[in-house]
Amino acid sequence: MEPFTIITGPAAPLLRRDIDTDVIIRIERLTQLPRRELGRYALEALRGLDFVLDRPPFRGAPILLAGANFGCGSSREGAVWALQETGLRSIIAPSFGDIFFANCFHNGMLPVVLPEAAVASLAAQAAHGAPVTVDLRQCRVIAPDGAAHPFAIDSLRRELLLEGVDELGLTLRRLAEIAAWQQADAVRRPWCAPNKQGHVR
C-alpha cells in the first residue's frame, strides 16, 4: 500500500451531504470494468457539463472537500478505488460512512474529519484552485491563507498509513495465536461450531 505523509494540491469542493457509495460508483461499473477504468465513472450521477472533477483546476485534484456523511451506504470498496482513480488521495468532510471510512485506510486514502465550518472555509479559499496541504505527520490541514486546521486521527491508523503497512501482513504473523484461541474456544463454546448435519444438498 502506498504510504501517505503529506500532499499539497487543489481541493475540489463537493459539499452536498449524504453522498452515498452507490452515487460514488454504480454497481454495474464494478461488475463490468477493471479498477483502472473506474475513475471516469466516479460520481457519474452528479456529473454534468460543469462537474467539479472534470474542469480545471480540479481535474486530477488530490483532495476532495465533501459534505457530511460522505460515503454512507453500501460497503463496496470500489467506491474508494473509483475516487482514487480520479487522482484523489485525501477526502476532507465533517463525517463519513463507517465502512467507507475504514475502506479508505486499506487503500492508502486519508479521510480527514473537520468541522463543517472549517470545510466550508477551505472550500471558499480553494475555490479557484489555490493549494491545500494535508499533512498526516503533523495531523493538520493547511488552508491557502496559511491557517492550520488540526485534525484528530486514530494513532494506530495513522502509523499504518504513514508506513504504508498492510494489516493482513501484520495479522498473518499471529496465526499461531489465533489457532490457540480457536482451540480454547471450541471447549468454551462447543455449540458455536456449525452443525455438521446441517449441510443441505
Binding site: L15, R16, R17, D18, D20, D22, V23, R26, I27, E28, L30, T31, Q32, A45, G67, A68, N69, C72, G73, S74, S75, R76, E77, G78, V80, S95, F96, G97, D98, I99, A102, N103, E116, D154, S155, L156, E167, L168, L170, T171, L172, R174, L175, E177, I178, W181, Q182, D185, R189, P190, W191, C192, A193, P194, N195, Q197, G198, H199, V200, R201
Partner: protein, 465 residues
C-alpha cells in the same frame, strides 16, 4: 462496572488487544456472495493464502443473478463470471455453496438466519453493509469491504476499533397495519441518516421484546441507513424458539449449552451508552420516503417538504436536489402520486411474514393496469413456504410476477432495474440516486404499503384500504 450486550459480545471474541481501543476479533461466521465473495476468493488464490476456516464460511449467489422464473446462475450474462468464480472457488476450498435451485440459496441476510447459520453470541461478517441484519438474533454482525474480506478469509479475524454505543428504547406497541419497516423509516426520519455513525446500536425495551424475530431482522437491517454498521437485539425466548431445529443450529446438549450462554447476553441495569433515544411504538404511522436518503421519511399521509423550511443550508440543497430527482414539488401530497413499479423483496422485507403482509392486502384484488409489480422471495426456503401457503397464487391472480430468490431490483446489479424517470414503491432499504437503476425514483415502504400502491396504481394509505 455494568456491561452492555455489545461489550459482552465484543469481549468474548478478543483474540488479542492491540492497544488504543483496537482488538483482533475472532469471526465465527463469514458469508460470501457473488458480488464481493468471488473477488475475495480469487484474491486469496492469487496471493497463495489458504482459507483459515472453511467450516465457518458459507457462500451463495444473490446479488448479480437473475430472478427470472426458470433462471440459472448464468442467465444474467454480466453476472455469470462472478457466479462461476464463486461456485468453482467454493468447491475448490471446501466451503458450502448454496447453488441456484437448491435449498439454502437466497439473499445472504435472509438465508443465514433461517438456516441457523446466524446464532446469538457469534460474530458474523459479510462483504455487504446490510450484514447488521443478523444482529436481530443477537449476533455481533457487520458489513466489511474487500480488503477486510480477504483478511477474514486468511485469518478468521479482523482488526477493529471498539465503536461508541447507542441505545434506542422502544415502548408501547405498533398499531395495526404498521410494521417494523415503518418503524425503521420513522426512526431514521426522526434521528437522521448519520445518527448512528461510529456507534453500535442496541434496539431495546419492551417494544423490541414484543417484536417477532423477522421484524427484529428488518429493524436491524435498516440500522445501517441510520449510519451504524452494527445493530443488536438481545436474544430471548423468541430467539431460542426461532432457532430450535434449524439445520445449522446446535442440537441436543449443544443447544442446551447455547441457551445457557445466550441467557447472559443482555445489557446490565445502569450500563452507560454514549447516546440514547426513546420511541413510543404507538405513535409510529405508516411511513414512506419522499426523497433520495432514507432520512427523507414522512408519514404516508404527509407532504413533500419545502426546502425553505430545511434546518440548514446543506439540507436545503439536498432536499431541493432530491425533489428535482424525484419529480416532486414542495407541499405535494404523496398519497395519490401515480406509480409505475412495485417491488416486494430485498434483505429488508422478503421473508415469509413480509409476503404474508403483502398478500393480505392483495388477496382478491388486481394490480392497477399501469403498474408492473414483482414479488421476489428472499430465499428458496421463503419461496417454498410461501407456495405451500398459496401466497404465490394470490400474487399471480392479482397480476404480480412471482420470481426466484435474489437481490433483484434492490441492488440492480443483475439487469433488473426500474427504468429512468419511473416511480417505484419498493420494500428495499435504499432510495439513493440511481440505486434501482439510473434515473429510477424510489419510495421506500413496508410490504403492505407497497402492495396497496400496486392495487391503487398510486401511493396509498394502508389504513384506508
Amino acid at each position: 462496572m455494568p456491561s452492555t450486550l455489545f461489550d459482552r459480545l465484543w469481549e468474548a471474541h478478543v483474540v488479542a488487544e492491540l492497544g488504543g481501543g483496537w482488538a483482533l476479533l475472532h469471526i465465527d461466521r463469514h458469508l460470501l456472495h457473488d458480488l464481493s465473495g468471488s473477488g475475495g476468493l480469487a484474491t486469496l488464490a492469487e496471493r497463495g493464502l489458504p482459507l483459515n476456516r472453511p467450516d465457518l464460511t458459507f457462500a451463495t449467489a444473490d446479488h448479480a443473478v437473475s430472478s427470472a422464473p426458470g433462471r440459472t446462475g448464468e442467465t444474467y450474462d454480466q453476472g455469470a463470471p462472478l457466479y462461476r468464480v464463486l461456485r468453482e472457488q467454493s468447491q475448490k476450498v471446501g466451503i458450502p455453496f448454496f447453488d441456484i435451485g437448491q435449498r439454502g440459496q437466497g439473499i445472504v441476510h435472509v438465508m443465514a438466519p433461517e438456516l441457523g447459520i446466524t446464532l446469538p453470541g457469534t460474530t458474523l461478517v459479510c462483504g455487504d453493509s446490510h450484514t447488521c441484519t443478523h444482529g436481530g438474533l443477537g449476533a455481533l454482525a457487520f458489513g466489511i469491504g474487500s480488503s477486510e474480506l480477504v483478511h477474514v478469509l486468511a485469518t478468521q479475524t479482523l482488526r477493529q476499533k471498539k465503536p461508541r454505543q447507542m441505545r434506542i428504547v422502544y415502548e408501547g406497541a405498533l398499531k395495526p397495519g404498521v410494521t417494523a419497516k415503518d418503524l425503521a423509516l420513522h426512526v431514521i426520519g426522526t434521528l437522521g441518516a448519520a445518527a448512528g455513525t461510529g456507534h453500535a446500536i442496541e434496539h431495546a425495551g419492551p417494544g423490541i421484546a414484543a417484536l417477532p424475530i423477522e421484524a427484529r431482522l428488518t429493524l436491524c437491517n435498516m440500522s445501517v441507513e441510520l449510519g451504524s454498521k452494527i445493530a443488536l437485539c438481545a436474544p430471548d425466548q423468541a430467539t431460542v424458539d426461532y432457532l430450535r431445529g434449524k439445520p445449522f443450529a446446535p442440537a441436543g446438549a449443544d443447544f442446551d449449552a447455547a441457551i445457557a450462554d445466550w441467557s447472559e447476553l443482555r445489557t446490565d441495569d445502569g450500563a452507560r451508552f454514549d447516546r440514547e433515544a426513546l420511541f413510543n411504538l404507538g405513535c409510529v404511522p405508516p411511513t414512506i420516503t419522499w426523497g433520495t436518503s432514507p432520512e427523507h421519511a414522512i408519514a404516508i399521509d404527509g407532504t413533500a417538504p419545502d426546502p425553505c423550511a430545511a434546518p440548514d443550508a446543506a439540507r436545503r440543497e439536498a432536499w431541493q436536489a432530491a425533489l428535482d430527482y424525484m419529480g416532486l414539488t414542495p407541499g405535494q401530497k404523496l398519497c395519490g402520486t401515480p406509480v409505475d413499479w412495485v417491488f416486494i423483496g430485498s434483505c429488508a422485507n422478503a421473508r415469509l411474514t413480509d409476503l404474508r403482509d403483502a398478500a393480505r392486502v392483495v388477496r382478491g384484488r388486481r394490480v392497477a393496469a399501469a403498474v408492473k409489480a414483482w414479488v421476489v422471495p428472499g430465499s428458496v426456503e421463503v419461496k417454498d413456504a410461501a407456495e405451500a401457503e398459496g401466497l404465490d397464487e394470490i400474487f399471480r391472480a392479482a397480476g404480480f410476477e412471482w420470481r426466484e430468490p435474489g437481490c433483484s431490483m434492490c441492488v440492480a446489479a443483475n439487469g433488473e432495474v426500474v427504468p429512468p424517470g419511473r416511480r417505484a414503491v419498493s420494500t428495499s432499504n435504499r432510495n439513493f440516486v440511481g440505486r434501482q437503476g439510473p434515473g429510477a425514483r424510489t419510495h421506500l415502504a413496508s410490504p403492505a404499503s407497497a402492495a396497496a400502491a400496486a392495487i391503487a396504481g398510486a401511493i396509498a394509505d394502508i389504513r384506508e384500504i
